[in-house]
């Protein structure tokens, strides 16, 4: 558009002009010069040309056959799951292979047609390297004119209406982000308490440690060198309502338990938190909250699978490797009159990843 060629002298109705002359003129007006143009085969109908035609036809046939095969596979291939190595395991691959081959054949036929049958052509397109200052000024004037036409400054009612309409629209985009922020002090300090908080979730009665199915855990249920994931025995304790509460209850060997008990003194809040050879830590990694439950029973390390943090169980779950910087909080445990584990109190340190107000 910007390059205006002198087309005033060109008359498309002139009788001596061929159709190709019109094509060439059309390209020229778009800044493209056709400098070389000749048919691929000088003489029509040669053996070489026929061979290319047959190749193209072959690919169209492949497309047809493969597409037909796709339909047949889709309708007739056994697709219902069956155990073991059966045809159903090939249903999806067969759909993909047949449809893929069909589309590939269609593409191949077209590309070969374009490369081998269409006339050989060399065209040169003009590059617009120079800055057209006139065009710049014209475009600028057009834009400014559009602003002037709206004339908001002379129409204060519309100005106010736009502000009143657009601002809440912006708020509608931003405000929902606020829903992702948990208020650490709303509804009973959720970041500071877990489902093991007896006062909040169990009417003041001590909260038992239960399995996933809600049954309480006895000391003899966990073998020496074993571990079990425990949940708070409160309503919805094993659901996402208390997603911060899963706890790893570990039964240590005598020697390891002795070492662990000696080390309890190093962390004030952990004192008295063990029951005999049992110790319980939060399963939520203090780095980013993954379930850290890869327990190595010989080395007494607890691993988090997400970023390879490691915690030393025998020393208050101290982080000894990886990105975690805080100890796993300990759940102080005891065994009640009926012989079931219970939490003597809630976690004394917030569980999970750090947050800005964490003490």
């Amino acid at each position: 558009m910007s390059t205006q060629h002198n087309d005033s002298t060109f008359d498309p109705d002139e009788p001596h002009l061929t159709r190709f002359d019109l094509v060439r003129e059309g390209a020229r007006r778009d800044g493209v010069e056709i400098v070389h143009y000749e048919p691929r085969f000088a003489k029509a109908g040669t053996a070489a040309e026929k061979r290319v035609e047959r190749t193209i036809a072959f690919w169209f046939m492949i497309t047809g056959l493969a597409a037909l095969a796709f339909v047949v596979v889709y309708v007739a291939w056994p697709w219902e799951y069956e155990f073991g190595g059966h045809l159903d395991k090939w249903y999806t691959p067969m759909l993909g292979a047949t449809l893929g081959l069909a589309l590939f054949g269609l593409g191949a036929a077209q590309i070969i047609w374009a490369k081998r049958l269409l006339p050989a052509e060399v065209s040169v397109q003009e590059r617009h390297d120079d800055v057209d200052t006139v065009e710049q000024k014209l475009t600028g004037a057009t834009l400014v004119n559009m602003g002037q036409e709206l004339n908001v400054s002379r129409r204060p009612l519309l100005k106010g209406a736009i502000a009143l309409g657009a601002l809440p629209l912006g708020a509608a985009a931003v405000v929902p982000l606020g829903g992702m922020i948990v208020d650490p002090h709303g509804h009973g300090d959720p970041l500071f308490h877990t489902g093991f908080d007896a006062k909040q979730f169990n009417e003041g009665k001590p909260v038992r440690l239960v399995r996933e199915d809600g049954t309480p855990i006895r000391p003899e249920d966990v073998s020496v060198g074993g571990q079990i994931t425990a949940f708070p025995g409160v309503p919805h304790g094993t659901t996402n309502v208390h997603a911060d509460s899963p706890t790893l209850l570990i039964h240590l060997r005598d020697n390891d338990a002795k070492l662990t008990r000696e080390n309890l003194g190093r962390v004030e809040v952990n004192k008295g938190g063990m029951w005999q050879n049992f110790v319980a830590y939060s399963k939520i990694c203090t780095h980013l909250g993954c379930p850290a439950s890869l327990y190595e029973q010989q080395t007494n390390r607890l691993l988090c699978p997400c970023h390879q943090s490691q915690f030393l169980i025998t020393d208050n779950a101290k982080p000894i490797f990886g990105p975690a910087t805080r100890r796993l909080p300990m759940l102080p445990i005891g065994v009640d009159d009926e012989g079931f584990f219970y939490a003597t109190s809630d976690y004394k340190v917030p569980v999970g990843a750090a947050f800005w107000e964490r003490p």
Binding site: E212, Q227, P291
Partner: protein, 268 residues
């Protein structure tokens, strides 16, 4: 003792009372001893190594040539070489030896599965060795029968208890300092059961109170199911999921696209 307190008042019955007390004492001792002997046969066996069964004797002979250097003369363990085998039971022996982990080739972070050593190629010999360890120390034993589990429930239990280390598809995973949780593919049912029951190396123990015999069989059913099922298309690319599948389609697919593009744009 009571009779001596009553002595001053009832002199004539003294001898009879003494005899009666002695008889009652003897009877009580005999009863207590009898009950003890009846309910504690295992500890008696411990105290009297002479009572080893013929099979255990055979096991002891095997122990003395291939285990004794690390686990000590009476399986009490050798410091910095091998742990005590008292209380590990025949289950642990059968798991460790049948999977080739024991005897260990060298001390290291991980006892790796390898071909069973020639000495123990006959499963009867492993059983004999297990019998020996069982008779001197007691401990968990394999049930010998592992079928009939429910793979659906086993899958649920597997994801709760095993997947964190062995991976969702039992392909294994990394642990600390060069250790790893092995893939479960090469393990047979008895080895799967033995591993859960005894907690070999760094694996936690899953005793029968935590995972019942039925639940263990369910897990075995699930693992066997996964081992024997076929991957869609015939190859699971390690069953790792999007990671390997993404790499595969990127390497193969992009290469193909690049060459196709070159062919389309190239001069003919």
């Amino acid at each position: 003792m009571t009779s001596s307190a009553e002595q001053p008042r009832r002199v004539p019955g003294k001898l009879r009372r003494r005899l009666g007390a002695a008889a009652r004492m003897l009877a009580a001792l005999a009863l207590a001893g009898g009950v003890y002997a009846a309910i504690m046969p295992a500890s008696q066996a411990e105290d009297a190594p002479k009572t080893l069964s013929a099979r255990a004797q055979e096991g002891k002979a095997l122990y003395d040539v291939s285990c004794i250097s690390c686990h000590g003369t009476n399986a009490e363990g050798v410091k910095d070489r091998g742990p005590s085998l008292i209380g590990v039971g025949s289950a642990a022996v059968e798991f460790q030896v049948s999977s080739g982990r024991m005897p260990m080739a060298a001390q290291g972070a991980q006892a790796e599965r390898k071909a069973v050593v020639p000495l123990f190629e006959d499963p009867k010999k492993i059983e004999a060795l297990g019998q020996y360890i069982q008779e001197i120390g007691g401990g968990p034993q394999l049930p010998g029968e592992y079928g009939g589990g429910d793979p659906a429930n086993g899958g649920r239990l597997f994801r709760v208890n095993c997947a964190q280390c062995h991976g969702y598809t039992a392909g294994g995973g990394a642990l600390s300092s060069g250790k790893f949780a092995p893939p479960l593919d090469p393990a047979n049912s008895a080895q799967l059961y033995g591993a859960m029951l005894t907690g070999p190396q760094n694996m936690p123990v899953f005793g029968d109170n935590q995972l019942t015999v039925k639940e263990k069989k369910d897990i075995i059913a699930y693992v066997e199911y996964m081992k024997n099922d076929m991957d869609p298309g015939g190859y699971g690319l390690g069953r790792i999921g999007p990671a390997t599948e993404g790499i595969a389609i990127f390497v193969v697919g992009i290469t193909l696209l690049v060459f196709t593009t070159l062919w389309i744009a190239g001069k003919s």
